[in-house]
Amino acid sequence: MAYRPSRKRKVTPPGAEINFTPVMNLVVVLIPLLLSVAQFVNVSLLDYQPPPAESLANASPDSRDLRERLELVVNVVSDGFEISLFGATSGRNFKRIPLTRSGAHNIDALQAELVRIRRDIVGSPIDTVEEADPMTGMPVRRPVYRFPDADVLNVAASGDTPWQLVVSVMDAARSYTDDAGRSHPLFALPRLGQIQ
């Protein structure tokens, strides 16, 4: 009678395991690192470039842009905003936006008025022109509007105005989102000044 085969042969050899230890070391270091920096990524930047020192008056007559200027100014005053176009101090090109009932400056109404100015007065570009980007030097195509200062917003506020309010005004003037959720530029070049 034949002997039953030994069961020892059926013992499967232990399988080769992947060594996770180096991967684990890497992951254990990376996760705390990324989690520790995560609290700082809520930071962003607000770019501001002051106008060049050469004023329009000093420019040669040939280099002056003779188109009519928009001269959009937002005055941040204690009782609200004053929005002026074409240098007006009264009339239809001058508008006051009072404070809200809670006594805060009405940023939403300011943006609505800036959107109206952009749509109704500035309008669509009349041409495009290729220029060198002042920061990178790379050529970029820039839209041309009927006003040479169509992207400029002059912000004037008294010296004791909190910085947050000026930042909010620049935010309101940068862009807006239409009903379809698309973002459109408004007046993305702020010029900061002070009311004396």
Binding site: V37, G159, D160
Partner: protein, 175 residues
């Protein structure tokens, strides 16, 4: 006669119990991918030195340039380590009194500091070409202080300013 039961198995040494790392690996991998996808490493280059930065919906990516901190106590260097002035604040460059002085629109202390800084970088063999200045201005500082800072830095050939702000949540939610 019945055979005696084998005693062989009694001598098989039991394998020591091993902690299974697989679920932990799964969890770590998921968290790592989530964190990598959600957060930009670029943001880590800039650390807020003060907690009361203004809030903005700007989405510009932070960059590391020469960084200053403007608070109600004055203008400070940004410190990489905690100093006696508080976390994130280094040496005071301009005092609050100098900012509050309405008789002057310039900040000689800042202009001197910027000139010294350029000279130091030149002496270290660095190319001093940057015109950018990162400013962490507290939300409550008077606007005239910011304008003074801009004016003084422009006189020292720094004419690109990057004001650090805290992002507001987008209208659609998310980060």
């Amino acid at each position: 006669m019945a055979f005696a039961p084998s005693k062989r198995r009694r001598f098989i040494p039991l394998e020591p119990g091993r902690a299974s790392l697989t679920p932990m690996m799964d969890m770590m991998t998921i968290i790592l991918l989530f964190v990598l996808k959600t957060y930009s490493v670029t943001g880590a280059l800039l650390t807020p030195a003060i907690s009361d930065l203004p809030v903005s919906d700007s989405r510009a990516v932070p960059r590391r340039t020469l960084s200053l901190v403007l608070t109600a106590e004055g203008l400070f260097e940004e410190a990489q380590v905690t100093s006696d002035q508080g976390p994130g604040l280094g040496r005071r460059i301009v005092s609050a009194n100098e900012f509050a002085n309405e008789a002057s629109v310039s900040l000689p202390s800042l202009e001197t500091w910027l000139a010294d800084r350029k000279e130091l970088e030149r002496s270290l063999g660095k190319m001093v070409t940057s015109r950018e200045l990162t400013v962490q201005a507290a939300r409550g500082v008077p606007y005239s202080w910011v304008l003074k800072l801009i004016n003084a830095a422009t006189l020292s050939n720094y004419d690109v300013f990057e004001f650090v702000v805290l992002k507001t949540a987008p209208a659609g939610g998310g980060q």
